[in-house]
Amino acid sequence: MNLVLPLPLVQALQVLTIALGAPLVTGVIATAEGRLQGRRGPRLLQPYHDLAKLFGKESLAPTASGLFFVVAPFLALGCYLTVPLLIPVLTSYPLPLGDMGDILGGSFILSLGSFVVAVAAAETGDPYAQLGSSRSKTFGAITEPVMLLVVFTVAIVTGTDLPYVLGATVRSGPDQIVRPAHLLVSAALFMVILFETGRIPVEAHGSTTELGMIEEARTFEHSGPFLAALRWGSWVKQLVLFTIFLNVFVAPWGMSASARLGDVTLAMVALLAKALVLGLVIAVIDTSFAKLRLFKITEFVAAAFLLAVLGLFTLYLGGG
Amino acid sequence: MTTALVLLVIVPLAATVACVWLPLRAAQAATLASGLVSLGLVLTLLWAPGQSVEAGWLMVDPLSLVFLLAVGFLYPAVAAYSIGYLADEANAAAAAGPQAQADFERYARRFSLGLNAFAWAMLCAPAVNGLALLWVAIEVTTVISALLVAIDATDGATEAAWKYVLIASSGLGIGLLATVFMYYAGAQVLGQSYDLAFAPLLQHAAQLPATPVRLAFVLAVLGFGTKVGLFPVHTWLPDAHSEAPSPVSALLSGALLVVSFYAILRYLQVAQLTLGAQFPHDVLLIFGVASLALAALYLLDQRDLKRLLAYSSVEHMGILAIGVGFGAPMAAAGVLLHVLGHAAAKGNAFMGAGVLVRRFGTKDLHRLRGGLDALRWTGPLLLLAVLALSGMPPFALFRSEFQIVVGGFTTSAWAAAALVGLVVIAFAGLAGSITSVLFRPRVAADDQDEVAAMSRAGSGWMLAPVIAGVVVLIVLGVHPPAVLSDLLARGAAELTGGQ
């Protein structure tokens, strides 16, 4: 267990952990939700079965669609899987490629992924898919400033916007955690995550009513391996966001400080455990609140914006 | 002298409590007695030796004594006036049956109760020692007077009372913020845990940190200015003054506004020692000129008699602010005299207007006609009150405005010129409206519906305080007694930092 892994391997493990752990987190949330609602819910490993099944099916594309429709799901998945290279997934120290991009870069790559999906959906000519992509871009335009404010606040707190540094700052003592700026920004980020992952109160996850859909509607025309790639991509995106939230903002503990195999393995387990706890919290939120009317979503985002702005205010003008 | 001071806050309170139990007539007598005793006590304090009288939380010096005089004069005047004011309604209620009579009893009792409590709070405000207690007393005046404004329970009264209590309380919230910042400033020198009493604060005012004091002063002008009726936070004032029963309007305008102004003066005292005179004076000049300009414009085109008088109050508060803003000792003495003159004149005007409104059953200036013929006594007296308010000699307000303007030309000529110009406009508006009410003959068509109202008689109770007011106005205008001139001079010296 004292085998020291080469750093590129650790970096690859970061990506692998996210890629392979993502379906599990999704499965746990779905199961927990089922239990909370008095159902038995799907099996924990159901998402893996789904993926396997979808990859084995034939795929159909609308006649109007072009090459981009086919490429987009994999492009998006690729985008989402690039981000784990940049953020602290397993290690508390920056890995060789970790300084390729900061938080801003990470969130740009995430946005690029969802942009690709939206364009592909728009290309199909299907009204529901287009509705989903236009909605997700409309609301995305409001969540983007929130994300930016979060990044700015982090930048002011740490003097840099490298996610590793913020994690280290938070670990440095309880006085860094109870800073109002940190709490507010974390709360704002959490709300953005709820929005980005299509959870209540923004969107009913896995619902079948097209009129309330945002993210889900975009995948209507895809099938087979393309659909699998899209699904997988959205799960990966979810776990990436969870990881940023946990390992950078809220709970940057249990990460490996070395490249030893034992530590890294432990970090994998810790990450999945933290993500599962967060998933349970989200499952509880999912079942205890009602979905907002579509036009009320701006209010939800306005609230997140408010939190982020206040965070910036307290920090920049109030010294808090 | 200490006894007199303590009695001054006990007597009206006792009268308030007594009004809960006593039968109506006795309650009214107690109110009047308490008013006269209070006036006597204030007059006794006039002859107190030394600069100030202190008793525990209470403290009276020349500055606060001026404001006590204003309240102390209006309290018995309004108490007497309301006996006559309620007598009218008593007759009407007696005619309407036992139910109406019982309703009236309850109304009249609440009225006397409120009157005493209101006067008590207003006597407390200048008598307490310290900015914190001053705020408390002024907030109490707000809530009590809001109930008095609403006491008629008409639609208009309800609306006016709600606006009043909301706007004035919010303003006082800002005033509380001012108190807190002043405390902070004082704590830097006097240490934590002191009680914001005036003397130590003034003594160390020069060492206080400038920023918090500046903040506290601006917040105080804005916050307490809400209750003074300074532009732009005067919006509640015309509503409350016009919808309240006339005796309450007289107290609101003559006493309540200036008591809040007193609070601003206390902040000014500290601020000009800490910051120098320039900044606080400029602030007051700006607020004063703005209020005066607004009031002058509204006076020109006003349809409602009591709103007319209310805007005249805004005008006079503007004059007070400008006068203090001049900073000259002569202007300051003029301001203090103006406080007394305004109390007497505006009290008279509202009490006279109350009779007029009763007799004609309307406040609409276009329907009030021929007042001089209809009201043999009140008509001329109202005319005198309006002339006094317009600053005509030989009344007190002429003397005070003259002092203010003369003082002003030595320090801030532009503001003094603006003052004169705007006062002339205000005079045109006020005098124009009132003379048409009094002199223009009645239109025949209007007579029919007002004959019934005409039959009610104005009583001696409603006349006596108005006559007393005229006497005071003339005495103060022609030759103020030596003791009063001395008081005003000492108060002005206090206000201008003893220059």
């Binding site: 002011i156 808090g320 | 109930l147």
Partner: protein, 225 residues
């Protein structure tokens, strides 16, 4: 890793400012809350937060008087005042929801701007307190300003009254920052004053409801000019 550009506030400061932030957030929630009852409850929670901050100051800065103040203000503002208001609303079973001049999102945006101005101005003043971090002062001024927005934007007597009471909470917060040492007797006098104001607000609200059969202030437009 520790190139921290700003001086890090201590743990106590962090807790205190966080509570102050909660007070401001509750003010924003009041602005958002459509249900009048919810608004009153939010006010109760806000008062509780202010009392909590008083306890924190009493403990952290060793000002034992503040324990008494915290207890009194909790009893009065978090229990008595909301109870009175809720009782009034039970008797006046008219509307349950108030209405605003603007939509909620715009109201929040306006308030953000207003609060930002407050933050900026207080930051410019450079008032330092040795009791609480200066962020708390900025926050309290922001609470006061947002309370004004609430009173101006909402069109019903309950919201306006709650706006005024929460304004007072903002001032209490400010007084904890800059005047924590104020003698207890004065603080109690302030609280007593608030109680009187609540009673009068209550009486006028009932009168208003009796006259108009409604809690809305839309029809209060008779008096102008």
């Amino acid at each position: 890793m520790t190139d921290v550009t700003q001086s890090v506030p201590g743990l106590y400061d962090g807790v205190a400012s966080s509570i102050a932030v909660v007070v401001l957030l509750l003010e924003f929630l009041m602005l958002r809350a459509a249900m009048l009852r919810a608004q009153v409850r939010l006010y109760a929670v806000q008062s509780f937060a202010v009392s909590l901050l008083a306890v924190a100051v009493a403990y952290g800065r060793d000002v034992p008087e503040l324990y008494v103040l915290a207890a009194l203000s909790f009893l009065l503002k978090a229990v008595a005042v909301p109870a009175v208001l809720l009782r009034l609303m039970r008797n006046a079973d008219a509307e349950i929801a108030g209405s605003g001049v603007l939509g909620v999102a715009s109201e929040v945006l306006v308030s953000i701007v207003v609060a930002g101005v407050g933050f900026f101005l207080v930051g410019q003043l450079g008032i330092e307190s040795d009791v609480l971090p200066s962020a708390a002062l900025s926050l309290s001024v922001a609470v006061v300003l947002v309370a004004f927005v609430l009173m101006i934007m909402r069109r019903d007597v309950v919201s306006q009254a709650v706006g005024f009471f929460s304004l007072e909470n903002g001032v209490s917060l400010a007084s904890l920052v800059v005047a924590a040492g104020m003698p207890l007797i004065l603080e109690v006098a302030f609280l007593f004053d608030l109680l009187v104001a609540v009673v009068v607000f209550g009486v006028l609200m009932r009168l208003h409801h009796a006259r108009t059969q409604s809690l809305s202030t839309e029809m209060l437009t008779r008096l102008r000019g």
